[in-house]
């Protein structure tokens, strides 16, 4: 087997040094009954070409988004990633290193984390950010848990414009901590009243921008109302490219900003792995979950970086830790950071501008279709449309024509018949004007 370097004579020599007759003897502490019943009906070792063949056949059963005009979003976005980004994250010194627990020989990973933390803080408009969470949904749950620790309250209010997976993950996580999560109904029209529902029991209010149905809302007044009630404002961002065009949550009074970095960090990969972004204000530092990288100096006085404030973390604090997270999304955070560095201020804002322009181009054509109404008066690169037919059927019909024409809201809200005709449409820099014309032409036929 090509991954195993020991030869048979070496194994015998090593057993000799150990003083054991066989490898099986080293397993003598395993229960005999379990060893006897162990039969595994699995294939044997395969060569590289055989593995490649099997997996290529499986992959070919999927319609990949590069092979069809694709307008999918709902929290996961297809963007172009520079070739140098994918090359850099595959350098073995990044790819095959562990968590930087020995800082003297991990300065590369550590400096990259420090730069990532700064980039996340800058784009969210917050003071500090951590080294990453698993994904946006788990980051949202951690934010609510953190808000409960800070306010010493045990309930949360979640907007109907929050991604349903974020809402569900938060609800699931919090119910085991006896935290009541009050979730408002889906809000495709963007008209829910959050301020009127804030109570003195709420640890936080959770909103999303751009909203799940596309809306861009100014939450400055909500932030004030939260703070007046002693609650925190948690803002989710599922499409960080938007932060190149819109006012960041930190500038309208957010206390914790969480998000999904996937859209800037490489392929969609069926939704995972992503990278959870987590930013907050400095005064809440000690209640933050996850790893933090900080600046210091070495014995020769040279600048360097270390993991710090680990007294918040599970390996030191055990059951009193702020979270149980250990492994995070280091490599995807590196991809995010590398892409952000390549873009820079000019590239990042231009990418956002281009995304918005493509989505507006799409909206201008879609809204001219008979019986179709755009529900999001403001949006970034994704908006909700009301169709004269059930969206699920429309999407299926488009897929038969090899067009991935949006995500039906019913996929998330099967029990809301009033959402059956709502479709989420996204356009990014990966769409061409020809793609848009193909979709609009097909939609016209399917809706007729």
């Amino acid at each position: 087997m090509r991954y195993l370097p020991l030869s048979e004579p070496q194994r015998r020599e090593m057993l000799g040094a150990i003083g054991a007759a066989s490898v099986d003897e080293l397993f003598r502490d395993l229960p005999k009954s379990a060893l006897a019943s162990a039969k595994f009906d699995l294939p044997n070792t395969a060569s590289e070409i055989e593995v490649e063949r099997s997996l290529s056949i499986m992959a070919a059963k999927n319609l990949n988004c590069g092979a069809a005009p694709s307008f999918l979003g709902a929290g996961n976005y297809r963007h172009h990633t520079p070739a140098s980004m994918d090359y850099l994250i595959q350098r073995g010194e990044f790819l095959t290193a562990y968590t930087p627990y020995q800082p003297e020989i991990s300065q590369g990973t550590l400096q990259a984390i420090f730069e990532f933390q700064t980039q996340v803080a800058l784009i969210t408009g917050m003071e500090i950010a951590n080294a990453s969470m698993y994904d946006g949904a788990t980051a949202c749950a951690e934010a609510v848990a953190m808000a409960c620790r800070i306010t010493k309250r045990t309930s949360a209010l979640v907007s109907g414009n929050v991604h349903p997976h974020y809402r569900d993950t938060t609800e699931t996580t919090m119910k085991f901590l006896d935290v009541a999560v009050e979730c408002l109904a889906p809000d495709p029209a963007g008209i829910e009243d959050l301020i009127g529902r804030i109570s003195p029991e709420h640890a936080c209010v959770v909103v999303q921008t751009p909203g799940f149905f596309g809306h861009l809302k100014n939450y400055a007044v909500l932030a004030e109302a939260c703070h007046k009630a002693g609650a925190l404002l948690v803002v989710c961002v599922t499409e960080p490219v938007s932060l190149g065009a819109i006012t960041p949550p930190g500038h309208i009074g957010a206390d914790i900003v969480v998000g999904e970095g996937q859209s800037l960090a490489g392929p969609m990969s069926f939704g995972g792995p992503g990278v959870g972004l987590f930013a907050t204000r400095e005064k809440f530092l000690r209640q933050m979950p996850g790893r933090l990288c900080g600046e210091t100096t070495d014995e020769d006085g040279r600048r360097g970086w270390v993991l710090t404030l680990s007294t918040r973390e599970q390996h030191i604090r055990r059951e009193k830790a702020t979270s149980n997270i250990c492994t995070n999304s280091g490599l995807i955070a590196l991809a995010f950071s590398t892409h952000m560095t390549l873009l820079g201020e000019a590239g990042f804002t231009r990418l956002a501008e281009l995304n918005h322009a493509m989505a507006v181009t799409l909206a201008e054509k879609v809204e001219k279709l008979p019986g179709v109404k755009i529900l999001s008066s403001t949006f970034f690169n994704e908006f909700a449309v009301l169709l004269p037919k059930k969206a699920e059927g429309v999407v299926e019909a488009l897929a038969k024509r090899r067009i991935l024409g949006g995500v039906p809201a019913s996929r998330f809200y099967p029990t809301y018949p009033e959402l059956a005709n709502v479709l989420l449409l996204t356009a990014t820099e990966t769409n061409t004007a020809a793609d848009i014309d193909t979709l609009v032409g097909a939609l016209k036929e399917v809706l007729a």
Binding site: Y3, L4, P31, L122, D135, N324, R350, V360
Partner: protein, 510 residues
Amino acid sequence: MTIPTTASGNRGLQLEQGLIFEQNTPGMSGVDLPAVPKVADRLGDMKSTKNIGLPGMSEPDVVRHYTRLSQKNYSIDSGFYPLGSCTMKHNPRLNEKMARLPGFADIHPFQPVSTIQGALELIDTCAHWLKTLTGMTAVAMSPAAGAHGELCGLMCIKSAHEANGQGHRKTILVPESAHGTNPATAALCGYAVESIPANAEGRVDVAALRAHLRPEIAAVMITNPNTCGLFERDCIAIAEAVHEAGAYFYMDGANYNAIVARLRIADLGVDAMHINLHKTFSTPHGGGGPGAGPTVLSAKLAPFAPVPMVIKVGEGFDVEEHAGHGTATQSYGRMKGYHGQFGVFVRAVSYMMAMGGDGLKQASGDAVLNANYLLARLSEELTPAFEGPCMHEAVFDDRFLKGTGVTTLDIAKALIDEGVHPPTMYFPLVVHGALLMEPTETESKATLDGFIASLLHLARKAKSGTAEAEFKAAPMLSPRRRLDETKAARKPILRWLPSSDSNGTRQAAE
């Protein structure tokens, strides 16, 4: 000879590299984009007017920046990484290539199910291998990492107790040698934690465990092989006692690499176990993640598994995405976005297929052989914490350093100068001054012999009583010497800050 001072601060191939924020050329970008169509924007009053503060760099400068950073890292690709409890094995590049096939990488989680049958088949294939290897009824695929898998297991356990009118069970028993994630996870699941002591052999004290079992106990979490590198010989008796007391047996699978394809954990009486795909199944650690922590479940816990779940329908596949619906009527909910760590599953399946059932058995055999070889050879100068044989990791205490003034930390730092990543230090907590070494099966005898020579040399040097100062100064040859962690924590600097006004009005992006 002393090391010369250079004008640049560089030392040959050790190149100094400033922060990206210190290399800013305003307006520069390493990405050229197509022209932006002219449209009337629909951003409303959320349209941004301020600069963000991101630095501008060209593509060649960015490539050089990260290349130089990478060269300051130690990695599996560059050398031996015997970090105990982390399973730093070779990461085959085939896995990376497979994960980048457009049919796997360039698919969206909410495409119509008819267009992602291959993706669901991939998840089902991964699940099939894990269920076959463990003999368990079901596997929850969505947990994102080991600790997340632990949470999944405990959430299933809590849901099962509540469904069976056993909601009064509020305490989890955890051995004192456990990873920190175990008690932290129990707390996150709303449980109290009680510690159970180990016996002198480094194993769970079964009598002490029995004494702790009572009607308030919801589950016992036991790492097996344990963090002392030993198999819990009495695990079947433990499982029986736990079940008799009406509690569940959670086995922490962090050390599964030692026993994969040797026995089925279902035969040990386990109710739930997470599997770190980034350990046993060779997906890369990436400087901290991502991983994946699929959690295998017994028949009693399977109904409570989280969504989403892939379901076989005739010749094809579907996916249940909503708790309370379809096949997920008793599911406790959702714990992560989308379909789990799909890209990690692809890499793991690529590894499983390459190894095969026979290769996996050889792998656990070689992992255990390598660890026992270290244990035997290093015992010449070091003091093993427990009697062997060990499983896939060997643990030494610091008795061999007694009276030398040299500590476990000093040995670890001196190993850096020897060109080796140090073993895990001071863990497990039950071993004084522990050095926990996990060589894995992907290291050659020559590599092990080189490591043994380095460590024996250091142990003899420490015992000579003449090298304490030298040890305290180590490492001397790494990109940085010992870093001041106290300073970092006392006055945290967690981001770069601009020195002057950078929050001006937004400039036109050119």
